[in-house]
């Protein structure tokens, strides 16, 4: 039979251990006592692109290119046009409404909705002085190249459309026609 005094020897250690356990429990209880909560929600909205395409609709008469651009795609777009000819030829422009010349391009300032077209931009080609004369340059044929570029319309914070000509995409190729 074991002596009861042996148990009493361990009593102080057991009391200390119990006290430590109690002390350790207090900070944990405090940390859990803060009132917190959270509320969550999630959702999605569909997004997809539609084609952005334009075509040049042009006529040539009286040494004049009569140029219009048509939005044949499914997105609103902005367009601009540039006309090239040989250095010996000069080009005299007669813009319709909303055309503005800047940086070598003629910008059409209105957004083109699908199916809409620009007003006319007329580019009259002038032959060099004395062309086809005995002493001058013989001109039988010449090329005038019209290039039209477009970007899909961007929108500002107020929902107003604007043209961001820094947008780049490989398929937003320059579209042109030649006569």
């Amino acid at each position: 039979m074991k002596n009861p005094k042996n148990y009493l020897k361990h009593a102080p250690a057991a009391l200390c251990l119990a006290l430590l356990c109690m002390l350790a429990a207090f900070p944990a209880r405090q940390a859990l006592a803060y009132f917190t909560t959270y509320a969550t929600a999630a959702g999605s909205a569909p997004f997809y692109m539609r084609s952005v395409e334009t075509e040049i609709d042009e006529a040539f008469y009286d040494m004049t290119k009569d140029i219009q651009v048509v939005n044949t795609g499914e997105e609103a777009a902005y367009v601009r046009v540039r006309v090239y000819a040989g250095s010996a030829f000069s080009i005299d422009y007669t813009p319709g409404g909303n055309w503005r010349q800047e940086g070598g391009y003629w910008h059409y300032d209105l957004v083109l909705q699908p199916g809409e077209r620009t007003t006319s931009l007329k580019a009259k080609i002038a032959l060099p002085d004395g062309a086809n004369s005995e002493d001058g340059i013989a001109v039988e044929t010449f090329d005038v190249i019209v290039i039209s570029e477009f970007v899909p319309a961007s929108y500002d914070a107020n929902g107003q459309p604007y043209a961001d000509w820094d947008l780049r995409a490989p398929d937003y190729a320059k579209k042109g026609g030649a006569a």
Binding site: Y34, F35, T36, T37, A42, G43, S44, A45, P46, F47
Partner: protein
């Protein structure tokens, strides 16, 4: 043979008897008092339970709720899909446009709180699967200036923003909107794959936008913490250091930028 005897001193026996008498006397008095209260008038008592609660509002309507019910570990919870009320004229979001959606927080408990918002945005396939190859930075969130919400730049990524409301949100109070619009940058049109095929003299070029058919996905969480011992509570719950001003204003540690 010696026997082990434990000798109990006389004074200890006396003290034990005295203690027994005192306990017996106290018990009698207690019983007597209990009998007296039987005839006393009825008293009306009211127990007030602290109930914390928070609600995420989308355009003024509750989109997410989690309120303590005051009964054990029971909570009142609800969650509605976000962005379902977006006005999409063509049934879809279009690049370069911002669509209005107001997200705010409301205190739906019965104690004042500090709140923060964790907003996560990403592209998904419509079945809830995240498209990791697409840049979440092309999803733009509009955060109004002067709203009182402060963005934590140290926690900001292309996919996630954490915003803190700089004031105490009183019971039944609603914050100004921390998000008032969502859109897709027009630059998403640059993220394309071009495939070219040739059939005889005909060359066909097909452009596929990475974002075509994808879904703009938004997750939002409102976290709320008690105002008592707020700095410690916020450190414990959110893991961030904050400064609480004398007027109750909440400020982030160094590096915080305010839009409020």
């Amino acid at each position: 043979m010696m026997k082990n005897k434990i000798k109990i001193p006389a004074w200890a026996l006396t003290a034990a008897c005295a203690a027994g008498l005192l306990l017996a006397a106290y018990g009698t008095i207690g019983t007597t008092r209990a009998a007296l209260t039987y005839y006393s008038e009825n008293y009306v008592t009211q127990l007030t339970t602290h109930r914390i609660g928070t609600t995420l509002l989308e355009n003024g309507e509750a989109a997410g709720v989690r309120d303590y019910s005051g009964d054990g570990d029971a909570w009142t919870e609800a969650s509605e899909p976000l962005l379902s009320g977006l006005e999409l004229p063509n049934g879809r979001m279009e690049p370069g446009k911002t669509y209005p959606v107001d997200l705010a927080a409301r205190n739906s408990g019965n104690i004042d709180t500090y709140v923060r918002a964790v907003v996560t945005k990403y592209w998904s396939d419509g079945n809830g699967n995240k498209i990791r190859s697409m840049d979440p930075g092309s999803i733009a969130l509009s955060m109004p200036a002067g709203s009182g919400w402060t963005k934590d730049p140290s926690a900001s990524t292309d996919e996630r923003e954490i915003l803190y409301y700089g004031k105490i949100l009183p019971v039944d109070g609603t914050t100004p909107a921390f998000i008032d619009g969502i859109g897709v940058s027009g630059a998403v049109a640059s993220d394309v794959t071009v495939e070219t095929s040739q059939d005889g003299s005909v060359i066909t070029t097909t452009t596929v936008w990475a974002a075509d058919g994808a879904y703009v996905t938004l997750e939002c969480e409102i976290d709320a913490v008690q105002t008592h011992s707020a700095a410690k509570a916020i450190k414990s719950a959110w893991g961030v250091d904050v400064n609480i001003g004398p007027d109750g204003s909440l400020g982030l540690g160094k590096g915080a930028a305010s839009n409020g």
